[in-house]
Symmetry: C2
Subunit: 328 residues, 2 copies
């Protein structure tokens, strides 16, 4: 099943069911008006939404309309929790290597995770508004999951059953604001403005064999200004699976329905597949050539993030965003 | 005006207007069912709620009921954003001094702030559930404000107008989980489980002259197991005012209605007024006596946080919580 939120007067948008081929959609006011509401009563709502999805795919719904991704919010236009891991540890190692720092051994067993802002996500086609190009504007292509209510101290073995939906993410990062925040030790605040998510969120069955219960075994494709930038496999070199990330997040608290957990920037040890963020490419340039030559994003630049199934169809639709200067 | 949320079938509780003396309350389903909903349409809703408040205080509402704080959620039982500053820089300096570290000069001009989890706040009388006493369970008594929609890059001069409500906070902290998280540089996750807020949120006018537009000039009183623990003045030694904290939070993004911004642990240079967290008391012991002797909270311990007006009445009601062991 594929679900999305269409822009509306509500801050949560309006929940729609989207056809498998992403061309048509239908509102479901009789089931739930928002995705958050559906997630809070998922056991009841999911079968009702699945029934609509089957009819929509069969072309049996007269209320169906043609879907334009520009009209979409992120599937959850805002959330009560956005916890972003950093599960591709070789990416972290690379970042450290470029600045001459060792990777602590514990990073291979104890996940990195930061608490992200979640009050105002960008839609998949919304502009990325930044105050200055000097902020070092970057994208991060990632995979994320949405949970139902998840108990405190859940084990990795039991955490997987709480994954209800998957999405793609552009975890927008302001690289030049990170060093000052890292020194302070309180995590990211300025450096991590609103993230954007893929047009649709999908149930795990939509991934078929590509979903192994822990990770998504498909390339995550990023284009920068129309050129292929990277297509690392999201299932390769993922040190921590989603159930492990969830168990980490739930160590000292429960996680409530609608909580989003992210994978961190997808990255493969095989560098021929390219990268999922500019920072990694710049690190490789520093290591290989002594200096970074790829600039961060400038106003007017576009990033496109998508994942294709083995048969070539777009699973989540594409995040496609332009960077625009903030006007007061 | 004083507002609260009573526990109900809704995850947002049910909005109630509370009398100035905190003894009676009334539901307002015709105006808004939740505080979040009221905040999203504050210009319309605030005058309607104020009218109810006036009648409630006059004893003119037959639907009013006696208020028991045990039945309350935090005013916002969950929020889309919880950004906690650390505005009492002498407290930060003390923490550093105890471990022999210098305070960077920039800490006096550039606020510390962390992104907190906000999907599941504790009610003001709810238990603090912790997995182990070894986690170093601590309270932090703070003041917080709730905002309406606040634009990106708002100035300190304009930020104050977005403060709609004030509350007290117990920013529960797990001290022994902090060092491992600080080393990782991604901020707090395990060490900052759910916070609890005061029974009611109040409009700034409820503070009278004690609210100067930037800070609350009244002592914040903390009791531990019935004994006075500290009563530092929240308006003294607050290096950054709330408008300055808000402007800091909004540097690279807008803040949406219902965003909560916290002051950080209230602390005075005059040590005779006591502390607002166990960690600070322990730091003073280390500095003065060479070792900490006050333990962190044990299962069964209670913390009570309250602020009294100059005439002695309780402005926000009391946070009063017991620490309880997590049972799987």
């Amino acid at each position: 099943m594929k679900l999305a939120s269409i822009k509306s007067a509500s801050r949560d948008g309006t929940l729609i069911v989207v056809s498998r081929d992403l061309t048509s959609a239908v509102e479901v006011p009789g089931i739930a008006t928002s995705l958050q509401a559906a997630l809070e009563d998922w056991e009841t709502k999911a079968p009702e939404l699945e029934a609509v999805y089957a009819k929509l795919n069969a072309g049996d719904l007269s209320a169906a309309f043609e879907l334009d991704p520009v009209t979409l919010e992120s599937p959850l236009p805002r959330a009560y929790q956005w916890a972003d891991g950093s599960a591709y540890v070789n990416h972290v190692e690379l970042v450290r290597k470029a600045r001459g720092a060792e990777l602590p051994e514990s990073f291979w067993t104890d996940p990195l995770m930061y608490q992200g802002g979640s009050d105002n996500f960008l839609g998949p086609r919304d502009d990325i508004i930044a105050g200055s190009e000097d902020w070092g504007i970057d994208f991060e292509s990632e995979v994320a999951v949405i949970l139902d209510d998840t108990p405190m101290a859940v084990t990795p073995e039991n955490a997987g059953s709480h994954i209800k939906l998957l999405m793609l993410v552009n975890d927008v990062s302001l690289r030049n604001l990170i060093p000052a925040e890292l020194v302070k030790g309180f995590g990211f605040f300025h450096a991590k403005p609103s993230s954007a998510f893929s047009p649709v969120a999908v149930t795990p069955d939509e991934l078929g064999n590509a979903w192994d219960g822990g990770k998504v075994n498909l390339p995550l494709v990023t284009h920068l200004n129309g050129d292929l930038f990277g297509k690392p496999d999201a299932g390769t070199d993922m040190t921590f699976t989603f159930p492990q990330l969830i168990a980490h997040a739930a160590k000292s608290r429960k996680l409530m329905a609608g909580c989003i957990v992210g994978s961190g920037t997808v990255s493969n040890l095989d560098r021929s597949s390219g990268s999922s963020c500019l920072a990694e490419k710049r690190m490789l340039e520093i290591i290989d050539e002594g200096a970074a030559k790829t600039p961060f994003m400038q106003f007017g630049d576009r990033v496109r993030i998508e994942m294709l199934a083995q048969d070539g169809h777009s699973i989540f639709g594409a995040i496609d965003q332009q960077v625009v200067k903030h006007e007061a």
